[in-house]
């Protein structure tokens, strides 16, 4: 077979059109086989591009090589090369993110606005995330669309709505004579029943979009029905209680105060570890501190942590260093590089190197 080549084989076909070779992984190949639509996305024009299927997000990298790969087109027993590649695009799995830039935070229902309208659809368009992942992440980020505008619900608004849902459900359960088994019943509910009860009993009327978002975040649906995720509920109330108390609080008082802020008859187990990464304890006192306020740089983060407290128990420091421990090695081994790790009795204690 005779081989021809255009004189300057180029990936660029015209001023705007060009060709790329892409290494396909099984998910993308399957999508192609099924003729499913794919999307090329990016958070902004300067961010890295991703290729998304219906359920997965892949970061696109360019892998250069020194070989000469010719793309040929066969015609009448001869073949002509019309594009030459010195690189391939490689797909790597990546954490999907939602781009919340420019979205207002809604603290009160009365603050709905018509300015800067951004729909949920356009948030999705501008986020390097697949449709399925977007549906899963949206409630986690308290993201809702109200009257055609997207908002991030303030945590206090989420808490108030959650309280109102829990109160409505619990009142209904009490009235039906199930007072003794409320916590068990909260693990096995019918979703439509919950929505009806909330609609009927809710003291403040929250739009259905908010109720559904809050339910999606704090409950899990399975074959057995809808179950409230007590750990997440406790975390929300606990973090807000710590945030609103500027003063240090005694550890013993904290659990009691936390119970008081929760709806009547709602008695989940309260464990401090549910709030990991949001508090510091010292000499029997507890105060709010968010892990997200620390530096992303490992060395800076460790030094900031030792400024807060000279000596940490291993389990206390763990939630604050999980983010920088990217290779997910054991925390005590990971910390050896940055700090002194020693055993005192049954406990492992971490302190600064110098």
């Amino acid at each position: 077979m005779d081989l021809y080549s255009v004189l300057e084989p180029n990936q660029q076909l015209t001023d705007t059109k060009s060709l790329k070779l892409v290494e396909l992984n099984s998910e993308v190949l399957q999508a192609i086989e099924k003729k499913a639509e794919l999307r090329l996305k990016s958070a902004t024009t300067k961010d890295y591009p991703v290729l998304v299927t219906a359920s997965k997000t892949f970061k696109i990298r360019q892998k250069n090589h020194s070989n000469c790969v010719l793309l040929l087109s066969e015609h009448n027993g001869a073949a002509s090369s019309y594009a030459r590649f010195s690189n391939e695009l490689v797909l790597a799995t990546t954490e999907p993110t939602i781009n919340l830039h420019g979205i207002s935070i809604l603290t009160k229902l009365s603050e709905l606005t018509n300015k800067n309208r951004v729909s949920l659809a356009s948030v999705f368009e501008n986020s390097p995330v697949s449709e399925e992942e977007f549906a899963r992440l949206r409630p986690e980020l308290n993201l809702v669309e109200l009257e055609g505008n997207a908002y991030v619900l303030h945590e206090e608004l989420v808490r108030d709505c959650l309280s109102s849902i829990l109160r409505a459900v619990i009142e209904e359960l009490v009235e039906s004579g199930d007072e003794m088994n409320i916590m068990t019943r909260l693990q096995k509910l019918n979703k439509q029943w919950v929505l009806d009860v909330v609609e009927k009993r809710q003291d403040e009327s929250y739009p259905p979009e908010i109720v559904q978002t809050v339910l999606a975040k704090f409950t899990r649906e399975s074959d057995r029905g809808l179950a409230f995720l007590n750990e997440k509920v406790v975390r929300l109330y606990g973090v807000l209680l710590l945030k609103t108390n500027a003063e240090k609080m005694k550890e013993d008082d904290f659990a009691l105060n936390l119970k008081l802020t929760m709806p009547f008859n709602y008695h989940p187990d309260i464990k401090l570890e549910y709030l990991d990464g949001n508090f510091i304890t010292e000499n029997g006192f507890i105060r709010y501190f968010a892990e997200s306020d620390l530096s992303e740089n490992p060395i800076e983060r460790i030094s900031e942590l030792f400024k807060l407290k000279k000596e940490w128990k291993l389990e206390e420091i763990e939630p604050f260093v999980a983010r920088i421990n990217t290779k997910k090695i054991k925390t005590d081994k990971f910390l050896l590089k940055y700090a002194k790790v020693r055993r005192v009795g049954k406990q492992t204690v971490v302190c600064a190197k110098t």
């Binding site: 004189l7 300057e8 790329k20 010719l70």
Partner: protein, 196 residues
Amino acid sequence: MPSRRVSTEKASDSVNAPTQPVPDDLPSIVCTKWGSMLLEIQGELNLPPSKPQGLNEQEEKLFTKFAYPDLVADSELLVRDAVKFGRLEIERDMKRATLYVSTSQRLVGTVETIDPPLGLLKTDVDEAGKCEFVDVKSQTRGRWCRAGDVIDSTNVKRGRIGDRDLARANLTEHMYIRRSGSCLLCTDIVTSSDPP
């Protein structure tokens, strides 16, 4: 808007197409349903930037006009000058292949499957333009694939195809069955003065 739909219709048709035997009057080849084929050479292939002037009749025959396939050109008519740079022969067993470049170089390679499969993505920066996977060269069961092919020849001695040093090879008809979906890998350097 940093989000573009990528159509997969053409690539899907290609990847789902069954292997087709070719008519006996055509030489052996490995390509996709859309006629795409990949040839990988270790090194470079130097071609003249434009068609040289003052060619004799025989040299003139090596040049032709190439119209880009519809697969990538859509309905636009893209025509460029093309030059014959060599000849490719795939052996009957579809395992080994030889690439003759110019009159003095023979590159021996093998037909290999592509793993992972490679997709050919056409992008268009124009807002109204269409992004699509137009073809897939895939690895599949064994050496013979349903669709897709890479012809890969490594260790190619840098064969410069200069203005006058053009390939002069005669096309001999080979009666191989065309198998789509394999690729060709040339691993040994064989320089030979024997004309093919």
